[in-house]
């Protein structure tokens, strides 16, 4: 499943980049994050409760940031396992200056393996869109929170 989109942050590139690399921000904004443990450089293990409304799966995830070009681009890979199946998301992120703000664009693939793929296909695309949207909204909130 292809996912792409963009989000505008009211901050400069450095702030947005730092935010996206921040363990604390991730721990706060990754959907249903119950713990985020560093397992290496730019690599974490986390338990995420991902879903919409009452439909949530608890995923044991590894999260890695690779191919970093500071202030420009990076790749985020999330691999998770849950009872309803496994997920793998690989997203390429990039930042661009916009008038007094920064536009983050992402482009990637999210693959769902297992029962969820077979029974939930109708909902997967809009659900991932919603979940990603919430993530950025939360991150944006972190930004304004930290500037206060």
């Amino acid at each position: 499943m292809h996912v792409n989109g963009s989000y505008t942050f009211k901050a400069d590139k450095q702030a947005v980049y730092d935010l996206m690399m921040s363990k604390d921000a991730l721990a706060h904004c990754l959907p249903g994050c119950e713990n985020l443990e560093e397992i290496g450089e730019d690599a974490y293990r986390a338990t995420l409760k991902i879903g919409i409304a009452g439909i949530k799966g608890t995923y044991t995830c590894t999260i890695r940031t690779t191919e970093k070009v500071p202030l420009e681009t990076w790749t985020l890979t999330i691999e998770g396992q849950a009872k309803t199946g496994n997920v793998k998301g690989v997203g390429r992120f990039s930042l661009a200056d916009a008038d007094d703000s920064t536009e983050l664009t992402y482009d990637g693939d999210a693959d769902i393996m297992g029962p969820l793929a077979g029974i939930g296909q109708r909902m997967l695309a809009p659900a991932s869109r919603t979940i990603i949207g919430k993530f950025f909204e939360c991150m944006s909130g972190q930004l304004s929170g930290s500037s206060q």
């Binding site: 499943m1 009872k83 199946g85 496994n86 693959d111 769902i112 393996m113 297992g114 029962p115 793929a117 077979g118 029974i119 296909q121 109708r122």
Partner: protein, 773 residues
């Protein structure tokens, strides 16, 4: 009293009272004391290496009795699942264990099994088994699988499991034909979806060291043989029972992992084990059907005579061979010329492994693909030559005086009269008026279409020598009990076809008793001679014929006993109006019951006659049968949405002699619904990672009452010479004939948009795009 002639009458089905009253027994209705429930852990990946399986949490779960993996079963002596073994050299056969060992090759493949106190706890425990995988690249698309790496089974270095060729060509080459055309034709994957999913109850008797397996199957006897080999238990210690079976459609013509797993677990735990497949499991792990991409080149004359047919079939086998997997696309190759005299035929089949559920026989099994292809070709030739599609078919028909007829593929068609069925179908419609109505409607933006399909199928499977794994015969025992009642056992194992009725009609007529004096038993290996099963429209053509031979033996013996009773010569004994008498002395005639009593009391019969009145026969058919017919579909395509509405459907079928016209029509109706649904909407879809995205009936559409019409059925009767009943079989006719009729009708409707071919299914969006490009 003159007994009514039952054969040919639409008598009500004798199996129905228990079914409409809800008192019948399907597998899940069997409840043995102490039963434990089995749940299966299935692969979430289409292709992956199993790194580890952690069963501890599941084992610790309250109510869980056992958790086993592929390695456990293998160590316990459980072997590999069987495949059709007479396919020929060069067939690549990957090993397949009931629970995967080392690697998984499709999403849904069984990886581990749990056993628990009830089905809810078993389901809980399935979630507690942790499997760690190393994902490997999945092969999904057929053209990509043919092109090369990645490979489903790395060890073969190719995805091509086999190559199969037909070549019969002489004279001018296709390049010299007046008209040449090429078409890529897809025949999408389908799920059989019997309303009852599969299910198993395995019960091991420690004292007798024997196993009874109740399973929803079409082939209890073959299953018993293969199961004994799979689990290493002597065959005579295994009993297989097919209780009431809620539809098969080929999906239950197989030997499945769970039959072995439940058996192994019952032996291990000494308790009855029940496993009932969920619908999601059924969609993701029981066999699928169809799945071909066909590249077709056609040569024809200007006036629509097809001279050359060259076909390259890419057949989607899925990840493994099930019982008959590689055979199915070769049936397509053999039936490519349909009811037509096409002199030059070339066909190459490449059977391809993909990381998907294995394909195998689904209602029609290879023949719907052939019929779809050639009937599409007829319309393509009509388009290219300007000859009317009906006329193209007429010009290419094998003449009714040419039978038996050997086709370019080498098959000997038994009997047929194709123009007769076509004419009869045309007599139901007003073709010219429709064309005028269609032209007028088009001017108003209304798109009406008519589609024809004049098919022939190969049925009555079949002579053993021509069958992929032999086993082309069928058996039956006919016993007249001392009170004159008749107990028939048949090796065929019907599952909705109504043979408890049709066989009783035949037996009652032939033995001079009432239909209620006959009972037809089937589906229990302990209670019948070894048999084969019900599939390939063979139940009556082969199973009924076997019963007929046994009846004839009983009749002969009854005559000998009657001769003794009547103090006459056997040669003078007649059998009329249900009684055995002496020529010229009808008042002295004896009923079957009177004879049976003497046969069993046996104190008055001479030593030259064995006691009892029973006979067993095995019937080996000398040839297949070839039913045929003409189907005509009327559709309307919504110009705004592309949605197709079926307006009318006419089916004229010839299945040889008809035993029960009501049942024959019922078989046709059901087949039509399945064939129509393939044309319009049924489709198994995998994503590019090999995940099944049509994994439930929320996404895999089955036909409902609302989307169909009442069908107009009619028949011609051309008896088959290859069996003593003259029957041909009708179980698959509707499915085979209808798919191309619908597609041809939709393409016909969209002629104004310049299309000549549309791949199935005819989804609204697809047609909308054609109309709005």
């Amino acid at each position: 009293m003159v007994l009514p002639k039952l054969v040919g009458s639409p008598i009500k089905r004798r199996e129905d009272p228990r079914l409409v009253e809800g008192t019948s027994t399907y597998v899940d209705d069997i409840k043995l004391h102490g039963t434990l429930y089995c749940g299966i852990v299935r692969s979430v990946y289409a292709h992956a290496r199993i790194k580890s399986i952690d069963t501890e949490a599941a084992r610790q779960h309250p109510g869980v009795f056992a958790v086993v993996t592929g390695e456990d079963l293998k160590a316990g002596g459980i072997g590999m699942l069987p495949v059709a073994h007479r396919f020929g050299e060069g067939l690549k056969v990957p090993p397949r264990y009931p629970l995967a060992v080392g690697e998984v090759h499709f999403a849904g493949e069984a990886v581990a099994a749990v056993v628990a106190t009830d089905r809810y706890v078993a389901r809980d425990a399935v979630d507690l088994v942790q499997v760690e995988y190393e994902p490997l690249p999945a092969v999904v698309d057929l053209d990509a699988a043919y092109a090369g790496a990645p490979y489903v089974h790395e060890e073969f270095g190719t995805n091509i499991a086999f190559e199969w060729k037909l070549f019969n060509e002489s004279g001018a080459s296709i390049g010299e034909a007046d008209v040449k055309l090429s078409q890529r034709i897809e025949n999408q994957r389908l799920a059989p979806v019997p309303m009852e999913t599969r299910g198993v109850v395995a019960d091991y008797d420690k004292g007798k060291k024997s196993l009874t397996l109740w399973t929803s199957t079409q082939i209890p006897h073959l299953l018993r043989t293969f199961l004994s080999l799979l689990i290493g238990m002597p065959e005579h210690h295994v009993r297989v029972v097919a209780p009431e079976v809620g539809g098969g459609f080929g999906q239950k013509l197989n030997v499945y992992a769970e039959e072995g797993i439940a058996s192994a677990l019952s032996i291990q735990l000494g308790r009855p084990i029940k496993w009932i497949e969920s619908r999601a499991e059924s969609m993701a792990s029981s066999i699928h059907g169809r799945g071909q991409t066909d590249y077709v080149d056609v040569g024809a004359t200007k006036d629509g005579k097809i001279t050359h047919l060259h076909v390259h079939i890419l057949a989607d086998l899925g990840a493994y061979h099930q019982l008959l997997t590689p055979v199915i696309p070769t049936l397509t190759g053999l039936m490519l010329t349909g009811p037509y005299t096409i002199p030059n035929l070339q066909c190459t089949v490449h059977g391809l492994f993909t990381n998907k559920v294995p394909t195998d026989a689904y209602r029609g099994a290879g023949r719907p693909e052939a019929t779809y292809l050639i009937e599409r070709v007829c319309d393509l030739v009509a388009d290219a030559t300007g000859v009317d599609p009906v006329e193209v078919r007429r010009r290419n028909f094998i003449g009714s005086d040419k039978f038996p007829y050997t086709t370019a593929a080498g098959l000997a068609y038994d009997s047929g009269n194709y123009p007769l069925a076509l004419d009869k179908a045309l007599s139901h419609i007003k073709y010219d008026e429709f064309r005028a109505e269609q032209a007028a409607a088009r001017k108003n933006g209304k798109y009406l279409g008519i589609g024809f399909s004049t098919y022939v199928e190969v049925c009555g499977m079949g002579p053993s020598a021509a069958m992929p794994a032999g086993f082309g015969w069928e058996s039956s025992t006919v016993r007249v009990d001392p009170t004159g009642k008749v107990t028939v056992t048949t090796g065929a194992s019907p599952h909705g076809q109504g043979q408890e009725t049709t066989f009783a009609q035949i037996a009652a007529d032939e033995l001079g008793v009432g239909v209620d004096d006959v009972i037809i038993n089937h589906g229990d290996t302990a209670g019948s001679p070894y048999g084969v099963g019900t599939f390939g429209s063979r139940g009556t053509a082969v199973g009924g014929a076997a019963m007929m031979l046994a009846i004839q033996k009983v009749q002969e013996k009854a005559k000998r006993i009657a001769a003794h009773m009547l103090e006459a010569s056997v040669d003078d004994i007649t059998f009329e109006n249900g009684k055995f008498g002496v020529k010229g002395a009808p008042d002295r005639a004896k009923s079957l019951g009177e004879i049976a009593w003497i046969a069993y009391t046996a104190d008055t019969i001479p030593a030259s006659i064995e006691p009892g009145l029973e006979a067993t026969s095995f019937f080996e058919p000398p040839n297949f049968t070839y039913p045929f017919g003409t189907h005509i579909a009327f559709v309307e395509v919504d110009g705004d949405t592309g949605e197709v509405t079926l307006k009318r459907y006419v089916a004229v079928d010839d299945c040889g002699r008809v035993i029960n016209p009501m049942i024959v029509d019922g078989q046709v109706h059901g087949g039509l619904a399945q064939g129509i649904a393939q044309a319009l909407f049924e489709e198994v879809i995998y994503d590019d990672q090999g995940q099944l995205v049509t994994g439930s009936l929320m996404d895999y559409a089955l036909p409902t009452a609302r989307g169909l019409v009442s069908f107009e059925t009619d028949h011609t009767t051309t008896p088959s010479p290859v069996n003593p009943l003259g029957v041909k079989g009708v179980g698959e006719a509707g499915t085979i004939g209808s798919t191309p009729a619908i597609v041809n009708a939709v393409v016909d409707a969209l002629k104004p948009f310049g299309v000549t071919h549309i791949d199935m299914p005819m989804r609204g969006e697809k047609l909308w795009r054609i109309m709005n490009k």
